[in-house]
């Protein structure tokens, strides 16, 4: 990431005049002042900070008077603060997305300078998020600038994707070619038929008149049938190619989504991802395997037809082209309107889908609050708007296109007129005229199609862009080059870990914990203090911004993620069951588990008993998200799922919160038996849950406040002591 920006010559002169040849260490833009966007620079030297704007040094702060640097995220902007002689002061403001991370790094840099270290400048290895060429942002987690990226590059990638399908994609071209040949031959036969037989009254002039006549008719019928057969074959092959391409692209996309880290998947909504996998792939597929070959075929037939009519009668050919300038002009005029209509229609459809998904997935809440009518109203409103939009679009298109078609075919009336004149003077036969007319109409078809091309291409480009965006993303939590696989003992060491979901506001600050294999660690702290976040880091759902996490002395970044996760058992705060049977859900972490193992895990989780009372035992279907079970039952299945693959590290995030103390105790005892040589992290608000813990870790505002055994912490009379007292008091008051 860039921390040394350029100064404009004027700014540089101003800075040099104000400073006595100080060395510039960092230079960052500040682009926000009062209610305006500006282009200023904050210059950091080893002595002071200069605020330079419009060729003037607006302010100078000496590092000796500065302390307590900080960055605050505001709304639409951010600000850089420091204490100037003990008074908190806002040094500058900047547009947040762009410079937030830079200033967060600068805070550290300033601390270093005030600490007396001006030699070691801070270097940030965070990737640059903005295109060096145009300054526009890259697609998240990639080095692709959608603006600068040449289209050729994307199309090259698309071409690579069609590998294995190219032959099939050629088929429509070949068949189109054959089909066309037929369409060109048939008019010739027709012409012979008309001129030599139908119009010729001199029957006896030819021998075997009837046989010839019959042969020609048969040939016409035969060719017609052949062309149908060919289009049938082509349809089938196109369907196969289309399906293969869809399957290929969908799988590719889905695999990629599975590989992406939590943080990047989280940024996109489920609906969005589903849309990309379903709709956008369909649009791209249709374009690649149907439209594109058709366009080529049309192009081909256009030129063939052109050559044929030109060779027959250049004058009449000219008539074909008379209306074309007008049509092109009309399309040009309508182009914006068509695009607008398409986008509007797409947006309304999208809104309906979103509303539908939102309401259906929250149907329990809708019912619980008796808001069915509001839901119906909301949905009806969406569908009504969509219907109106669709109607409107259809009306416009169905008016414009027939009109355009009529205009385009206007040339054929001219041809008719001219042809009849030619007939009258005997310069042309009826058969020839018919042949010419047929060829001319072959040309009209591609011409009509051309009017649709811009629309299809714009739809395709949008969808393809959305797909590429995912395919190109580099997973930010990736396996090391040579990931390690080994069986964990279960030592976990967290060293100086700092982490924030948005890097400017750390959720965990400088956290260090040493856990020995087999220990059970209880984690407590108020809601939102970062307990689940710590767990996420240990599971490597995210990588820490700073610091390392080691298992058995190996950095988890060097352990293969597969190996890491397969030795961890996790019960997450939000239990999610898949729709399927109880057995499938328990076996989820270990697909080849035997039934005996399933039962053993269920017993340990104290779930066996209630499962046996279900009508179909372990084969009972739990329904979507497990809604047919109670909250505590779901939790116990999740615990069984975590226990089944005998993990070396067990993580329980409020795993027993929905259970009564009695059941909880039973499970704890069972887990206890199983946890002899298992490192366990248990998060709990109810402290009695942690009675078996070897050590308690108290987190407060993202820092470790206390760490020690139950007894040690009570003696410290700190936060843990207060928590215990408060809960006991509550219990005593009730009792």
């Amino acid at each position: 990431m860039r921390l040394l920006f350029d100064l404009s010559p004027a700014d540089k002169a101003a800075f040099e005049a104000a400073s006595a040849g100080e060395r510039i260490l960092y230079c960052l833009p500040f682009d926000c002042r009062h209610d305006k966007r500006v282009d200023g620079r904050m210059v950091f030297t080893d002595k002071a900070i200069y605020k330079v704007i419009d060729a003037e040094v607006e302010a100078r702060w000496d590092f000796s008077e500065l302390s307590d640097f900080s960055v605050e995220v505001l709304y639409g902007c951010g600000a850089f603060f420091a204490k100037v002689n003990g008074n908190t002061t806002r040094l500058c403001r900047f547009i947040s997305g762009r410079n937030l991370t830079r200033y967060s790094v600068i805070v550290e840099a300033c601390n270093r300078i005030t600490g007396g270290d001006t030699e070691h400048t801070v270097v940030s290895d965070a990737p640059e998020r903005y295109c060096p060429k145009c300054g526009r942002p890259f697609i998240v987690n990639t080095h692709i600038c959608p603006y600068c990226q040449s289209k050729r590059e994307s199309y090259r990638k698309l071409w690579a994707m069609t590998k294995g399908l190219r032959l099939m994609m050629m088929v429509p071209l070949i068949t189109a070619f054959i089909g066309m040949a037929i369409t060109f031959v048939v008019p010739i036969l027709q012409r012979t038929l008309i001129d030599d037989y139908i119009q010729n009254s001199n029957f006896d002039a030819k021998e075997n008149w009837f046989l010839h006549f019959f042969l020609i008719v048969a040939a016409i019928v035969g060719f017609d049938m052949l062309s149908k057969v060919i289009s049938m074959v082509q349809g089938r092959i196109a369907a196969v190619a289309g399906n293969r391409f869809t399957r290929f692209l969908r799988t590719l996309l889905f695999e990629k989504i599975q590989l992406l880290s939590m943080s990047s998947v989280q940024k996109k909504s489920t609906g969005d991802l589903m849309g990309r996998i379903n709709n956008d792939v369909a649009v791209v597929q249709n374009f690649i395997t149907n439209l594109l070959p058709t366009y080529f075929a049309q192009l081909l037939s256009f030129f063939l037809g052109l050559v044929l009519i030109l060779s027959m009668s250049p004058v009449m050919s000219a008539f074909v082209f008379v209306p074309i300038p007008f049509v092109v002009w009309a399309i040009y005029l309508f182009r914006h309107m068509m695009r607008r209509l398409n986008i509007k229609q797409w947006m309304k459809g999208n809104r309906t889908n979103r509303t539908l998904q939102d309401i259906l997935s929250g149907i329990r809440v809708v019912k619980a609050y008796g808001r069915e009518e509001a839901a119906i109203e909301e949905f009806t409103d969406c569908t009504n708007q969509q219907a109106h939009q669709n109607e409107h679009t259809a009306k416009v298109f169905d008016t414009v296109f027939p009109l355009l078609g009529f205009a385009l075919r206007f040339g054929s009336y001219l041809i008719m007129w001219y042809g009849n004149v030619m007939l009258f003077y005997g310069a042309m036969t009826v058969g020839e005229l018919n042949q010419f007319n047929t060829y001319a109409s072959i040309i009209y078809n591609p011409l009509m199609q051309i009017t649709l091309i811009p629309r299809n291409i714009s739809a395709f480009a949008t969808s393809f862009g959305k797909i590429l965006e995912i395919l190109e993303e580099e997973p930010d939590v990736a396996d090391a080059r040579k990931p390690e696989h080994f069986k964990f003992k279960g030592d976990v060491s967290v060293q100086n870990v700092t982490f924030g979901y948005e890097s400017a506001t750390p959720v965990l600050r400088n956290v260090s914990v040493e856990v020995k294999a087999g220990e059970m660690i209880g984690i407590v702290g108020h809601s939102g203090c970062g307990k689940s976040t710590l767990i996420n880091l240990i599971m490597r759902m995210y990588d820490p911004t700073d610091g390392v996490i080691e298992i058995d002395g190996v950095n988890i970044k060097d352990i293969s993620q597969q190996s890491l996760r397969s030795q961890m058992g996790v019960v997450l705060q939000e239990t999610h069951l898949f729709s399927g049977s109880v057995r499938d859900n328990i076996k989820y972490a270990k697909p080849y588990a035997t039934d005996a193992e399933v039962i053993r895990a269920a017993r340990a989780a104290n779930a066996h008993d209630f499962i046996m009372r279900l009508p179909e035992g372990y084969n009972t279907i739990v329904g979507e998200k497990g809604y047919s079970l109670s909250g505590g039952e779901r939790q116990r299945i999740a615990i069984a799922r975590a226990l089944i693959h005998d993990p070396s590290i067990l993580i329980l995030d409020e795993a027993t919160a929905a259970l009564d103390t009695e059941t909880e105790k039973l499970i704890q005892d069972a887990i206890d038996k199983m946890t002899d040589n298992r490192t366990t992290f248990a998060i709990a608000h109810r402290l009695s849950t942690l009675r078996n813990a070897d050590k308690i870790l108290v987190i407060d505002h993202g820092r470790i406040a206390e760490f020690g055994t139950h007894k040690e912490l009570l003696d410290q009379r700190g936060i843990y002591f207060k928590l215990v007292m408060a809960q006991t008091r509550a219990a005593l008051e009730k009792g």
């Binding site: 209610d35 960055v71 639409g76 806002r90 997305g97 526009r136 607008r340 505002h701 007292m725």
Partner: protein, 194 residues
């Protein structure tokens, strides 16, 4: 867990009432709150608690409870988040600024303006869409700005009162106060997304 009698004893020993100091958010009025400019050009506050206790904060941060639907009412006065690395607690709430003297309300409004940076779009010079990204070139109350938006369908939000909020790829926000009041060319460029 400590057994019951032991706990009872500890409970009796210690003054449990202030084990968990929760600041109670006050209704701030000119009577109990005195806002002043801080030495660093920000805002300081001296509050008188109902108990009569007087507290001084070198710096406070005003935050809107409803920045979009009603930015002028319900303004929370908080300790800054950066304070001691923790989360700042709410000191109190101002239901409406009008009850304060002109200079105080102006000071707070000014600070709010610094916090919420949402330039209003006055003119749209160009709008291009390429591979699913939209490139806008607009004149706003904050000057001429080019910004990029991903997925205009979900990043342009029209409120019931007709205002439009647009979020760019960095999460910055731009508004259109009244789309119908834009000139014809500008309006045409956003119209499809409304």
């Amino acid at each position: 867990m400590a057994n019951a009698t032991e706990t009872k004893k500890v409970l009796d020993d210690s003054d449990i009432t202030d084990l968990f100091e929760h600041r109670v958010s006050l209704d701030l009025t000119p009577e109990n709150a005195r806002f002043t400019r801080s030495g660093g050009g920000l805002i300081s506050l001296e509050v008188t608690q109902p108990s009569g206790k007087v507290e001084f904060f070198e710096r406070i941060v005003p935050i809107r409870a409803f920045p979009i639907s009603s930015p002028e009412t319900f303004i929370a006065i908080r300790e800054p988040d950066s304070q001691m690395g923790g989360r700042g607690a709410e000191i109190g709430m101002i239901e409406t600024l009008d009850i304060f003297p002109e200079e105080v309300s102006r000071m707070i409004r000014d600070e709010l303006e610094h916090r919420y940076f949402t330039p209003a779009i006055q003119k749209i010079h160009s709008f291009r869409e390429k591979f699913g990204y939209c490139y806008w070139d607009v004149t706003t109350t904050a000057g001429r700005v080019e910004f990029i938006m991903n997925n205009p369908g979900s990043n342009i939000r029209t409120l019931e009162d007709g205002r439009v909020f647009m979020y760019d790829i960095d999460g910055n926000c731009f508004t259109i106060e009244n789309p119908a009041a834009l000139d014809k060319h500008s309006y045409k460029k956003v119209e499809i997304y409304l």
